[in-house]
């Protein structure tokens, strides 16, 4: 059972403070911040204790969601609970940001009041809670979309879905919409020799429903999808002749799987708000090529001249697709004083972050089946034998709209409504994000 729940801004302002059990002092946020600041640079673990009090926290969009307790709780449950509260805040406020919480604090207090009582989680489903919510949300102005990192990247950066689930019925003229996002995050590690050490896909099918009423939805996935893992209860004959392939999957509790084995159709009884319909993983042999290949050349033979680095990047997705917001990040030797560069086309720029010893090559839009080259000259103050080793590994950050590495597809999305009185808007989006795409050079 938890004792307090606190939401703190990045700068340490208390945005919300809810005391459930009264057995932890009111100074806990200050103690927490002291500890966090004492261990900067990502060293502060999500759970630590001080003076017999356990502090558990999760950072979402640079907000700290923190819970304190005196008892030996299940850390899994508490962190899941904190995450759930954060996503509820997002469901109700539209976006998750300091401003949104400040504007909607009575609403968030209401949420905390209903979700947790005396430190014990009660109900957290968005539609159940809706019955108890009295405050109406204040919408944050457009254009204040939060940063790109972290959990938020799971959502496609579009403001269409950034509205409160409370607002829909009242403000939007009962507009029926449903968003389905297929999101994949890639973890790739390629060795110096070019061999793939690791390639993992971590995917979710995320649904955000603004539908009036609760119609059942049937969603059909690619019928050539193979799922193989000994722990899945449906086993299909394996083989790589098919196109889409995943190793393992789990489903939300609202999903009925009776037809999944044969026809790959999911029947969903969607709760309101955002929830993951299906989570899946695939690793090892991916059904499609890795989206990027990198050919580095390093020239540091002559120690009297600048170090030269040439990066040639291929985008191996079909020419109909393209990557956006690509960032190639190269750690450079600590003694690098300046970097000059030469690029092969417009729409790109290079930034040298001297403090972090990093060169960032940004590419706004990278069409499929093309290649780009960048030439860097690094002026390094004192060359030692290790200078070369300090270069790299290169990491890529990118977003591939409408492209999915596992080739999983949604064939159709049908709504079963008894009255058939409306035609809902259905939005299906695909996106692949880099999670950790690293190439050693």
């Amino acid at each position: 059972m938890i004792s307090q729940f606190v939401i703190l801004s990045q700068h340490g302002d208390i945005l919300l403070f809810k005391d459930y059990r009264g057995d932890v002092g009111k100074d806990s946020p200050e103690l927490f911040l002291q500890k966090i600041r004492g261990l900067s640079g990502g060293l502060a673990p999500p759970t630590f204790h001080h003076d017999g009090i356990h502090y558990l926290h999760v950072k979402h969009n640079s907000l700290y969601f923190m819970a304190t307790t005196r008892s030996n709780v299940s850390p899994f449950m508490v962190i899941e609970l904190i995450n759930r509260v954060a996503s509820l805040c997002k469901d109700y406020c539209g976006v998750l940001s300091e401003e949104a919480i400040r504007l909607n604090f009575p609403l968030v207090y209401e949420i905390l009041d209903e979700v947790i009582d005396f430190g014990y989680p009660q109900g957290t489903s968005t539609d159940m809670l809706k019955a108890y919510m009295e405050n109406s949300p204040v919408l944050v102005r457009e254009g204040t979309t939060p940063g790109l990192f972290g959990a938020e990247r799971r959502m496609v950066p579009s403001t269409a879905a950034n509205k409160s689930i409370m607002g829909t019925a009242i403000n939007q003229g009962r507009k029926n919409e449903i968003f389905v996002d297929v999101l994949e995050r890639l973890t790739v590690l390629i060795s110096t020799s070019g061999s793939v050490l690791r390639a993992d896909i971590d995917g979710t099918i995320q649904m955000k429903s603004f539908l009036v009423g609760v119609p059942d939805i049937s969603m059909s996935l690619s019928d050539n999808l193979t799922v193989n893992h000994e722990q899945c209860f449906f086993l299909l004959p394996t083989g790589y002749n098919s196109h889409a392939h995943i190793d393992e999957c789990s489903f939300h509790e609202s999903v009925d799987l009776s037809e999944f084995g044969q026809s790959r159709v999911l029947t969903i009884h969607p709760p309101q708000g955002e929830f993951p319909v299906m989570k899946y993983q695939a690793s090892g042999d991916l059904p499609s090529l890795l989206p990027f290949r990198l050919f580095p050349t390093v020239n540091d033979q002559d120690s009297t001249r600048d170090m030269e680095l040439v990066l040639k990047v291929f985008c191996d997705v079909p020419s109909t697709s393209h990557a956006v917001n690509v960032m190639v990040r190269v750690p450079v030797p600590k003694s690098t004083t300046s970097v000059s560069h030469q690029l092969s086309g417009p729409g790109q720029n290079v930034e040298f972050k001297a403090q972090e010893h990093v060169v960032a090559w940004n590419i706004k839009k990278f069409p499929g089946a093309t290649e780009l080259t960048a030439r860097f000259k690094l002026a390094v103050a004192n060359r030692t034998p290790s200078t070369r080793l300090e270069l790299g590994p290169v990491s890529l950050k990118f977003e591939l709209p409408m492209y999915i590495c596992s080739r999983l597809q949604i064939r159709f999305l049908r709504l079963f409504d008894h009255e058939q009185s409306y035609v809902p808007y259905r939005w299906v989006r695909y996106v692949t994000h880099s999670d950790s795409y690293v190439i050693r050079i």
């Binding site: 673990p45 999500p46 899994f76 989680p121 993983q281």
Partner: protein, 737 residues
């Protein structure tokens, strides 16, 4: 950051709250309340507005009501007298037709934490337990748990407990879970809620009804019931199986723990369970956020101590991602270190060596340490690891070289055959390594093995030249020893510099340890050089054993610890923490002289106290004189405050106490005010008897009584359980009907 709202702000808000124009406009009024609550959250003291807010709470507007209740809960404890005014509205709200209002009022009322309001809460609470709305019942059950700490006699009542047990059969699943939680707290002294076969089967049959949080809790409570037959165990496992596939990691872990618990006596099946657990845990690491990933890694590290080979095939999943936060990366390093086996060692060391050039020096250092640790643990891997370390050493960075030296220092002792590879590196390190511990290591290595280097003595000589500017004491001490050692193997080159060093250390250095060591060496050498050699060089081939503080196999792993905070901190530091906490509590208890019964937390710390039970024995003879002297002597005191029921006569009370083996020494006449009595008892605990003396004072007008207890216990360990147990008996006897 707290800031203090000035009087002006409060005045302004008060005017706004009482302004009829504002009161008439629902939205404006809400705005004012929002401002109050917002300032309160910021840490400003809004308590002067208490009466105004209470007035505002009597409103049909739910938004307004919720805001005011939020305020009242926050300040009720500091405004106990005024809180009574709020109760009126709250009581009325408990009778509202709208179940939401009833539930809200009940929840607020029970959260006030004011003992004097108990009598007003009693009725609504009992009504709430039988309410037709599940929402109200949920809040009422939680209310019972809340009231436990304020009015234990009201809640620890047989009929109340029976009612709660009955409500486990409620049709609303949240009510069921709340009941279990409440009973667990109420019956804590007796070991918590009882889960018998009937209840267990009932819960298992409904396991799908519960919310994910409910499932977490129910699976936890099911640990209290162990099925008798194997067949039943398998049936249960079939039912719970579905929880292992849940998307909430809390449910997965709770289910996993339950499985492991069920198969405790079936090692083969338990192994299957472990295998089963692998993929959910790995999935949490790859796809949960970094926080969950960290918690899962801690658990994997914990499990590895008993099943070291479990994750062997999946070691690549533990490789760091560049965007992992540092705490995850460091944890992954630990896990990788511990899971390295002969088959995977080379890949893991290869991967670890990649982290040495990481921007974060902490990670770089940790990865080098990890390689050293693997080399120590797996003798077969030593030569590969050392080769890697030597290669890394070529990077010529201070933090890297320092870490490599420290890792090699342990390895040269374990594997003497690597010495010839290590010594040639030492001269290069001298300019690079500046920081205390690393430099001390370098000096030690030079002293031990430097005599084979042609310029060995001269490296030391340079350091001796600069010894005056050396700040680290550790380095100076090592330098003394190293020079002395070097002197025995190459006396001609070293005699002069040793003399200078000793002279400096004896005459000029201010540190006692340095001076002492220098003096000792000087005298040893002065008396007998051969003896000095024996003392300073020591035996050539000492057996070496290096123990890592966090090495596997040293911690006892207990299934009970899974899915708790223990694996996160490690068993040992957990024990230290619990012990520290307990000591602190004892101290506060003893210094305050009162046993703080309403202390709500620290369930963990008190468990042990309960194991030591005391029993009160039949009387031994105690004369009033002895009583008096003892009363003066004893200094271990606690005071227990109790409510006095005026319908009971004081003599009846004494009779009751006598029945519980607490005997009267003397008492005032029946109608005296204040009425006093002196009591004594003999308590037996762990085969020792302790005398307990009590002075009981009854204040009839305030309907309270106060018992000052003195204990004949000179040891702290004995005193604490004695105090708490005796307090419980006294309280129990007096409040029993």
């Amino acid at each position: 950051m707290p800031f203090f709202a000035g009087n002006d702000t409060i005045k302004e808000l008060r005017t706004a709250l009482s302004d009829p124009a504002v009161q008439a406009d629902k939205n404006r009024y809400r705005q004012v309340l929002r401002r109050v609550v917002s300032l309160m959250t910021d840490g400003a003291d809004m308590s002067p507005l208490f009466p105004d807010i209470i007035k505002a709470s009597a409103t049909p507007d739910l938004v307004q009501k919720k805001l005011t209740y939020l305020y009242i809960c926050n300040y009720a404890a500091t405004q106990q007298d005024l809180a009574l005014l709020a109760v009126n509205t709250l009581q009325k709200d408990c009778l509202e037709p709208n179940p939401m209002v009833r539930g809200l009022a009940l929840r607020t009322m029970c959260s006030l934490r004011i003992p004097s309001l108990v009598e007003y809460i009693q009725m609504p609470l009992k009504r709430g337990l039988q309410d037709s709305s599940a929402y109200v019942r949920r809040n009422a059950v939680n209310g019972c748990a809340k009231m436990l700490h304020i009015a234990p006699e009201l809640i620890q009542d047989a009929s109340m407990i029976d009612q709660l047990y009955g409500m486990i059969r409620d049709k609303d699943p949240i009510v069921v879970v709340n009941c279990l939680q409440a009973l667990e707290e109420i019956l804590q002294a007796e070991g918590g809620v009882v889960v018998n076969k009937n209840i267990a089967h009932y819960l298992l049959n409904r396991v799908q009804d519960f919310s994910e949080w409910g499932q977490c809790q129910v699976l936890h409570f099911l640990l209290k019931y162990k099925p008798a037959e194997e067949e039943e165990t398998f049936d249960i496992m079939n039912i719970v199986d579905v929880c292992l596939k849940h998307s909430n990691s809390g449910v997965i872990m709770a289910a996993l723990k339950y499985f492991l618990f069920l198969t405790e006596d079936m090692p083969q099946i338990q192994e299957q369970v472990y295998n089963r657990a692998k993929s959910p845990l790995l999935n949490i690491i790859t796809s949960g956020g970094p926080e969950l990933s960290y918690v899962a890694l801690c658990h994997i590290q914990y499990i590895l101590t008993t099943s070291p080979g479990l994750f062997n095939k999946d070691f690549k999943k533990f490789f760091c991602r560049y965007n992992d936060p540092l705490y995850v990366k460091t944890k992954k390093l630990h896990v990788l270190t511990e899971m390295a086996t002969d088959g995977t060692e080379s890949d893991i060391v290869e991967e670890l060596s990649m982290y040495c050039t990481d921007v974060s020096t902490d990670l770089a250092t940790a990865s080098i340490q990890a390689i050293g640790k693997i080399a120590r643990r797996l003798p077969t891997s030593a030569s590969h690891c050392v080769g890697t370390l030597l290669k890394i050493h070529g990077l010529q960075q201070e933090h890297i070289t320092s870490a490599v030296l420290m890792a090699l220092k342990d390895l040269v002792l374990l594997y003497p055959d690597i010495i010839p590879k290590v010594t040639p590196l030492l001269p290069n390190c001298v300019d690079l390594v500046q920081e205390g511990p690393a430099k001390a290591t370098l000096v030690w290595l030079l002293g031990q093995y430097g005599h084979t280097l042609p310029n060995g003595p001269y490296i030391l000589e340079d350091m001796i030249e600069n010894v005056a500017s050396e700040i680290s004491i550790q380095v100076k001490l090592e330098l003394l020893t190293a020079t002395a050692k070097m002197f025995f193997s190459r006396p001609a080159e070293c005699q002069d510099m040793l003399g200078r060093l000793l002279e400096y250390c004896i005459d000029e250095d201010t540190n006692m340890a340095v001076r002492d060591r220098a003096l000792m060496y000087y005298r040893l050498l002065h008396t007998d050089v051969q003896q000095a050699r024996r003392v300073i060089l020591g035996a050539a081939n000492r057996p070496v054993q290096i123990q890592d503080s966090d090495a596997p196999g040293q911690e006892i792993i207990d299934l009970q610890d899974l899915n708790t905070l223990v694996p996160i901190y490690g068993r040992r530091s957990w024990d230290v923490m619990v012990e520290e906490q307990r000591r602190k509590e004892q101290q506060t208890k003893l210094t305050n002289g009162t046993s703080n019964e309403t202390d709500m937390g620290a369930e963990g710390g008190e468990e042990d106290d309960l194991e030591e039970t005391i029993s009160l024995l039949s009387p031994s003879n105690l004369t009033p004189q002895e009583f008096e002297t003892k009363w003066e002597e004893l200094d271990c005191v606690t005071t227990v405050h109790l409510d006095y029921d005026p319908t009971h006569s004081p003599n009846g009370l004494l009779q009751k106490l006598e029945g519980a083996h607490i005997f009267t020494m003397a008492s005032s006449p029946e109608d005296a005010a204040p009425w006093k009595a002196f009591l004594f008892a003999v308590a037996e605990m762990k085969d020792q008897t302790h005398l307990v003396l009590v002075e009981l004072c009854v204040d009839r007008t305030a309907a309270t009584m106060q018992a000052t207890c003195k204990f004949d216990a000179d040891q702290m360990e004995a005193a604490v359980p004695l105090i708490s147990q005796f307090g419980r008996i006294l309280r129990g006897t007096i409040t029993s009907p």
